[in-house]
């Protein structure tokens, strides 16, 4: 016993501990604070010290043994969270494996004190614990501990005498994973973001018909594949199989655990491939990309008969341009993901500099369509004859441009495919992006291989000039929308300076076209100076938290969410971003609708808004947990439940109300 005091200096006095001699344990019940404050949460812990050579068990004890059983008797209105365990060890004994603890075991819960206690200050409250745990060496002895803790209701509670026991306690972070049921084993895929963490062990939760022996790990680029033998014919619950994964930081050697909730992989790669292709195809119809496509077709009309044979070569170059750009984009996303940050489609729109660049690009393109300036580089066939050398570069860059202008847009199917792609390893991600690219280039590809189709296109005529000029306006429209995105990222001054840049640009183009000689050079230099000056003002990074106040929505945070759930309130989370058109549509259609507003007035549903317009790690992490690379994502937690229900991307008031009404 003396050894205990020497080894564990944080022990204050042996009077605190109850000695269970036969059960080879010393135990005490601890509270984090010296009182109970209304509306707060306080931790309670059961600290068990085990005699040398004896061990106790984790929630899944392994091949034999028993998990601790803890029951609470609480005053009215109080609630306690699920029991939290420290990271267990593997205790191998012959051919049997136990999962548990040697020396010490600290089990803890979060106690939620109801708001109503405000009116009961000074009163005493009794909290009773009835605990049972099994202690084994070779033989096993059950330990029983029934104890009552009495605490006063206080306005503000200070830390208790043993509060430092509580400081390192944190609930496990939950991540999502997926699994496949193979003939005799379970193939688990767990996404891992931090490359400095090495997985050292994996423990299945109880009720899983799998072996508890240490499984085989295979580290992929951004995920770990685990093979676990199945123990019986009992089916695995496809909805959730939970595992505790223990990682070790390769630098600090500190162990950290994550709770993985795995669901059965139902989305097959085949479907995702189709979705990626369809998404790419439909992207051609989006206002960002449609003008480009239109112009390419327009370019076709412009060609002479002989040149029409060149189309097939042209479309190959165009396709290559698309694919190369998408591969670069995919590569960037994979790198960002592996570096630990969260990224998704649209991540580049989180950078105001890039948004500004896109605005200027679209503006210039629009001006080009209006024939204000000529764009020989990007639009072969829009007035100039095709020269094969120029042809390659021209078409290639048109392909690049198509991807660049597609980036603010997302099409049906595309979101799902990309979301799926980014949870897979690098190769699969690249394949899916390739298919997206093939879909994007498909219309022009058709024309390339079947030039006879060109016959079905309306015959060229003066209407084509008008059509081209008309196409400038969807481009300007995209500019306006991108301004909206920018305005929620940076302050007004910077937005105005960008507008100033656009004015200068237009002026500069006029100067170039209309002036000559020294006048031209002078004004060009002045314009350039002005652009640089205004440009630097426009692209400084935004100040965080510059989002306006909203009465309907509360700002999302993990801590806030946990608090609401502990208070047993229903929570609805809206993951959105300024550039997300679908999100805006849902906002107008559903959240601002009278029916929903009416319902929200009378219900106590908590509405959280997670705005991902600017880089936010917490939000990004949350999105990844649900296999989403981007927004929108709508989650609904019914009263106090730990698992959220995912609502469809396209919301209507009916869908929303059906989901949130009890």
């Amino acid at each position: 016993m003396l050894l205990f005091y020497l080894v564990c200096p944080w022990l204050f006095s042996s009077e605190d501990f109850t000695i269970l001699k036969e059960a080879h344990s010393r135990v005490r019940l601890l509270a984090e604070h010296d009182g109970l404050s209304a509306g707060s949460s306080s931790k309670l812990a059961l600290q068990i010290l085990l005699e040398e050579g004896w061990h106790a068990y984790w929630r899944n004890p392994g091949d034999s043994g028993a998990a601790p059983i803890v029951e609470w008797q609480l005053p009215k209105g109080y609630q306690v969270s699920d029991l939290n365990y420290p990271l267990p060890h593997r205790i191998e004994m012959g051919q049997l494996t136990a999962i548990g603890y040697e020396k010490e075991l600290l089990l803890w819960v979060d106690l939620a004190v109801p708001q109503s206690e405000e009116l009961h200050r000074g009163e005493l409250r009794k909290i009773q614990i009835s605990a049972e745990w099994l202690v084994c060496k070779e033989e096993c002895v059950p330990a029983f501990f029934d104890e009552t803790l009495t605490l006063p209701v206080k306005e503000e509670s200070a830390g208790s005498q043993t509060s430092e026991v509580f400081t390192p306690l944190r609930p496990l972070e939950t991540k999502r994973g997926s699994f496949e049921v193979l003939e005799k084993e379970l193939l688990l895929e767990l996404p891992v973001s931090d490359s400095s963490l090495q997985m050292v062990d994996l423990f299945p939760f109880p009720d899983l018909p799998v072996s508890v022996k240490k499984p085989v790990f295979e580290r992929g680029v951004s995920q770990i594949k685990v093979r676990i033998p199945l123990m019986s014919a009992k089916p695995v619950d496809g909805n959730s199989a939970r595992f505790l994964a223990v990682f070790e930081d390769t630098k600090t050697l500190v162990k950290i655990g994550f709770l993985y909730e795995a669901t059965e992989q139902t989305e097959t790669l085949a479907w995702m491939l189709l979705f990626a292709f369809l998404g790419g195809l439909l992207l051609n119809l989006m206002p960002c990309v449609f003008p480009i496509l239109a112009l390419k077709f327009y370019g076709v009309f412009q060609m002479e008969e002989a040149e029409k044979k060149e189309i097939s070569r042209a479309q190959v170059y165009y396709q290559i341009g698309i694919l190369v750009s998408l591969w670069i984009l995919a590569g960037a996303l994979i790198l960002i993901r592996d570096a630990g940050s969260s990224a998704g489609w649209g991540f580049h729109l989180q950078s105001p500099a890039f948004v500004s660049f896109l605005i200027l690009l679209f503006f210039l393109l629009g001006l080009g369509f209006l024939d204000y300036l000529t764009l020989p580089m990007f639009f072969p066939g829009s007035g100039l004859t095709l020269m094969s050398k120029e042809g390659f570069l021209g078409h290639f860059f048109t392909g690049v441009l198509a991807v660049v202008v597609a980036s603010p847009c997302t099409a049906p199917f595309m979101g799902t495919a990309i979301g799926f792609a980014l949870t897979q390893d690098a190769l699969v991600t690249l394949i899916l992006f390739t298919l997206l690219g093939l879909g994007l280039g498909f219309p022009y590809l058709l024309l390339g291989f079947f030039p006879s189709l060109a016959k079905f296109l309306p015959r060229s005529g003066p209407w084509m000039v008008q059509f081209k000029q008309f196409m400038a306006f969807p481009l300007f429209g995209t500019c306006a929308w991108l301004f909206f995105v920018l305005s929620s990222q940076v302050e007004g001054l910077r937005v105005s300076s960008l507008l100033g840049c656009m004015v200068l640009l237009s002026f500069g183009i006029w100067v170039f076209k209309s002036l000559r000689g020294w006048m031209r050079s002078l004004f060009l230099i002045l314009t350039l100076a002005g652009l640089l000056g205004l440009g630097s003002v426009a692209v400084k990074p935004p100040a965080p938290g510059s989002v306006s106040k909203d009465t309907l929505w509360e700002r999302f945070s993990q801590a806030g969410l946990d608090r609401h759930l502990l208070e047993r309130r229903s929570v609805f989370i809206n993951f959105t971003a300024a550039w997300c058109i679908t999100c805006k549509a849902n906002e107008i259609l559903t959240f601002s609708s009278d029916r929903v507003q009416q319902y929200l007035k009378s219900s106590d549903l908590v509405m959280l808004k997670a705005d991902w317009t600017n880089r936010d790690e917490e939000i990004g992490e949350f999105l990844r947990r649900y296999d989403r690379a981007g927004v929108p994502l709508y989650l609904f937690y019914s009263k106090g439940s730990k698992k959220a229900r995912v609502l469809p991307e396209l919301l209507t008031p009916e869908i929303f109300l059906n989901a949130v009404q009890p």
């Binding site: 091949d63 034999s64 043994g65 028993a66 998990a67 059983i69 004994m93 012959g94 051919q95 049997l96 136990a98 049972e132 099994l134 084994c136 060496k137 070779e138 033989e139 096993c140 002895v141 059950p142 029983f144 005799k184 109880p206 009720d207 018909p209 033998p229 123990m231 019986s232 014919a233 009992k234």
Partner: protein, 210 residues
């Protein structure tokens, strides 16, 4: 010689992974000496239902079921083994796989004494000190229950009930799986829970210690 064969069989059964008995397949045949000196084999009970109960009188979980307060195990044994008109017979075999010197190990004489003192109603306490049959059935805890039907097919394996506590009071609200399985089988209904996770102390085999 016999020891060699048994040990080899035991080792083969543990290392060959998927040889653990499967519910829905034929239960492994065995032959063991009982507390009364007689030899018992599984095949001699074909035509009756057979309940196998892994037993260790020193284990607190087994003690809970045998405690005089509820006599849970004794009542369960008595209920099913008692001869009933027109109802199929049920044989109850308690198996001790504890190695010599380990908790729960008993000689034939000690086993007989135990049966009397506990007022237990199993048909026989079978002695498996080498752990062969325990290994054959992949018995991991005491108690660990197996229910075999009249054709010799394994229909249930796992815990005795749904309260993995060592507290005697937990018996009050416990849902017993042996009752549930036998009742379903005898009424021609499907077994609701054919496999559950067994609880209890580890079986004190020769080659491992817990």
């Amino acid at each position: 010689m016999k020891a060699c064969i048994s040990l080899t069989l035991f080792l083969i059964s543990i290392t060959a992974g998927w040889t653990a008995p499967e519910v829905g397949k034929e239960a492994p045949e065995f032959e063991l000496k009982g507390h009364d000196g007689k030899s018992y084999s599984l095949s001699q009970f074909k035509g009756s239902y057979v309940v196998l109960e892994w037993f260790n009188y020193g284990c607190p979980y087994v003690k809970k079921h045998y405690s005089p307060e509820y006599s849970n195990m004794q009542n369960l044994q008595g209920k099913w083994t008692a001869p009933r008109e027109g109802k199929p017979k049920v044989a109850w075999l308690s198996i001790v796989s504890s190695a010599p010197g380990k908790q729960g190990h008993v000689s034939a004489h000690e086993a007989s004494e135990l049966k009397i003192s506990l007022d237990a109603k199993m048909d026989a306490i079978l002695l498996d000190p080498k752990g062969t049959v325990g290994g054959l059935y992949d018995a991991v805890t005491t108690p660990h229950m197996f229910v075999i039907d009249q054709k010799g097919v394994l229909r249930y394996q796992g815990a005795i009930d749904d309260q993995p506590s060592a507290r005697v009071a937990s018996l009050k609200s416990a849902h017993n799986f042996v009752n549930e399985t036998l009742e379903a089988l005898m009424n021609g209904k499907p077994v609701p829970n054919p496999v559950t996770k067994p609880y209890g102390c580890s079986v004190k085999y020769k080659s491992n210690w817990f």
